[in-house]
Subunit: 417 residues, 2 copies
């Protein structure tokens, strides 16, 4: 179906916040076989909201409206929509009860303001029975309109869980079958992947998308058609060909993360990990520990920002620091071995480099990062040079450290097979 | 003046590319005193481009149109605009000469296609005499329309260098003055802040916005009006009242981050920091080290995920772990003191808690987090209970740890004043 996305919020039109929710919605809806003909961003102005919703409704088959649904006085979406669609604001006692039940920790004086969330345009339905935040839909003149909160993580969750599924079963003209998969890759540039996969493109009903999500590149495969069996067969064939073509550059499928995949491999190997980080400053550890259950395989880490800590905690010989410097493969190896011993882990991973903006030299320019990996069978090291600003170098280095460990775990897995 | 931004490109409406150019334009134009009433994103469809430009032109005082100006067959903006505004495409030989002069490195077979860049709607002017890329403007029915390339770095350069300056000297009807400030707060809920600041709202030309950016809440103040002195006076008065009302809940203004503010306070105090993290798993260290120059005040940290590391590295007495558990104020205090000693820092900050999804108990439910702060004058501790999923608890705990340190540094700053 053809849809439009309307994002509401002064913080967007004043350029204070980058609008990532419309992008996320467009990408998911596109992948699900819909076409987004326009994305409109406007401020918290009731007249403007009313006019924009009516105009979009005249052109599109469905609307996604995000933002302006909260409890504060600048949240005006529901009010504006009630008036534009002549659907008077209606109080839904069930919604208020559910919200209150799910907001037990909210102090009493603030719970009063929650009542605003239970006033919706007449005919609206909440998107989830377990109401924890704003989010509803209504069908106006045969067209579904979804209202989602502007807070990115809430919006994304609701869109993925409720909007996409509702649209999929919507009684449109001719039901379309859609199969989709996302391949998360690391280590090859977008253009290189494009060159390899271009041969699969072009056929009607097959869409391959390339999305750099620094430092990863994501590839999406979408197969659409009318006949379910045909779609399934083409999808399976292409899925296999993409996997064969990209091989171990693919680190995960769909929603899995690199750190999640590393955790899976460590768990499968019954092995534990210790981290010694200099230039990434805890970013690798922070990624590892975002994963639920990581305490089973993650021993701990040292953020060895100063040389004193490298020597004292990680037992890096002072000669290495004086002869080769802290950013050297020698130092990375010593850090990896040191943290492996210190934390009694099966694997010790070390990162030391120059993230900038200062500290580069001709010999070791900004973006130079050395990696160490200590295992039961020895210690490896490698030097990379990343481009970008401080945070980009840190992100690239953290991703590379995790990916190296993944590749090593895959290799050693094969050896023991 | 009141403007609209139109971004053109299938890569945007299909969610393949995040639209950062409209955001950049809105933020610069807003800062220059203009108001952006709508940002519209559409695909490379000539009819849709024509219609959107005409509609926006009917509402706004000026337009910024980005994308679709290149040499390939899917670049259709100029053609669509020529037709919509009845300004026939016109060949500008001077432009072609300038482009060719500035594109010496382009291979011969591609140089032919450059000619497309010299066909502009009648009455158009290039934005820069040294033409190196697409980019032009025209005045239609008294309103300036700027056409900029969609490539972010080219667009940003042209916008900053040519559009903002041209608009600044534009003879509009009545120039509008705008003053704006963003207050970043932590420790009070959005609705609570709203309740306090509501008394300042409602007056014409004053807008207060509330944006939860978990775990922070951002508050924006915008004052607009015709007379510069009046706007300035009202802005200064409200700014002071908001600062007085929110006090130390405000941790930073405009673009500054919490970790940046903490770094500033540590630098001012000539003090150094060491971190011991359990449930935040390196997130606090990672935030601290995102800040350029943090090596001057950050000694390092320990991600003490296992109890063994808490005992071995941080010298947490085993009795504390057996009697009180790892998630206890006793443990947080010992960790803070331990890491302060270990890393020879002036401040030792410790975080230990239950981020979930497992590990909660009746006595210590999920989201229970203990904080320790060791200083030259002693050691403090505190227990908080956060709600949300694992990553939200981690984010809330990391923010709280930094904010506690900020408040302590402010307090000790006062003592030495």
């Amino acid at each position: 179906m053809k849809g439009e996305i309307i994002a509401i919020g002064d913080e967007l039109t004043s350029g204070r916040i980058l609008n990532t929710t419309s992008y996320f919605a467009a990408s998911r809806l596109f992948a699900a076989g819909h076409e987004i003909s326009a994305m409109v961003t406007i401020g918290d102005d009731p007249d403007h909201i009313s006019r924009t919703v009516l105009e979009s409704l005249g052109r599109a088959d469905f609307l996604i409206v995000t933002g302006g649904l909260g409890v504060t006085s600048d949240d005006l979406t529901t009010e504006a929509v009630s008036s534009a669609l002549a659907r008077p604001p209606t109080f839904y006692p069930d919604i208020l009860r559910a919200i209150k039940r799910n907001s037990r920790d909210v102090p009493d004086d603030l719970r009063l303001s929650l009542e605003k969330l239970a006033w919706l345009p007449a005919g609206a339905h909440v998107l989830r029975s377990e109401v924890t935040s704003a989010g509803y839909f209504l069908v106006h003149e045969g067209k579904p309109i979804f209202f989602l909160p502007g807070v990115p993580h809430e919006m994304k969750e609701l869109l993925a869980e409720t909007v996409i599924t509702r649209l999929a079963v919507w009684e449109g003209e001719e039901p379309r079958q859609v199969r989709q998969r996302l391949y998360r890759t690391m280590g090859m540039a977008e253009a290189g992947i494009n060159a390899i996969l271009a041969v699969f493109e072009g056929e009607e009903g097959i869409r391959i998308g390339y999305y750099p999500v620094f430092p990863e590149v994501h590839v999406s495969l979408t197969v659409t058609g009318v006949d379910a069996a045909t779609v399934e067969a083409r999808f399976n064939e292409l899925d296999q060909r993409i996997r064969d073509s990209l091989g171990r550059y693919i680190f995960a499928i769909d929603d899995q993360t690199l750190e999640g995949r590393v955790g899976e491999l460590l768990t499968a190997a019954g092995a534990t990990l210790a981290l010694a980080e200099s230039c990434t400053g805890g970013l690798v550890a922070s990624k590892i520990t975002r994963v639920a259950g990581s305490s089973a395989y993650f021993r701990g880490g040292v953020v060895a920002y100063s040389n004193a800590i490298k020597v004292k905690l990680l037992a890096v010989p002072p000669e290495i620091l004086s002869d080769h410097g802290a950013v050297s493969e020698e130092c990375a190896r010593a850090m990896a071995v040191g943290v492996k011993e210190l934390a009694a882990g099966d694997y010790g991973v070390a990162v030391t480099g120059i993230a900038g903006p200062d500290g580069g030299s001709d010999e070791k320019p900004l973006g130079t990062v050395c990696f160490g990996l200590a295992t039961a069978v020895g210690v490896e090291s490698e030097t990379m040079r990343f481009t970008g600003n401080r945070q980009q170098v840190q992100a690239a280095a953290a991703g590379h450290a995790l990916n190296r460990l993944r590749l090593f775990l895959l290799k050693s897995d094969k050896v023991t097979e």
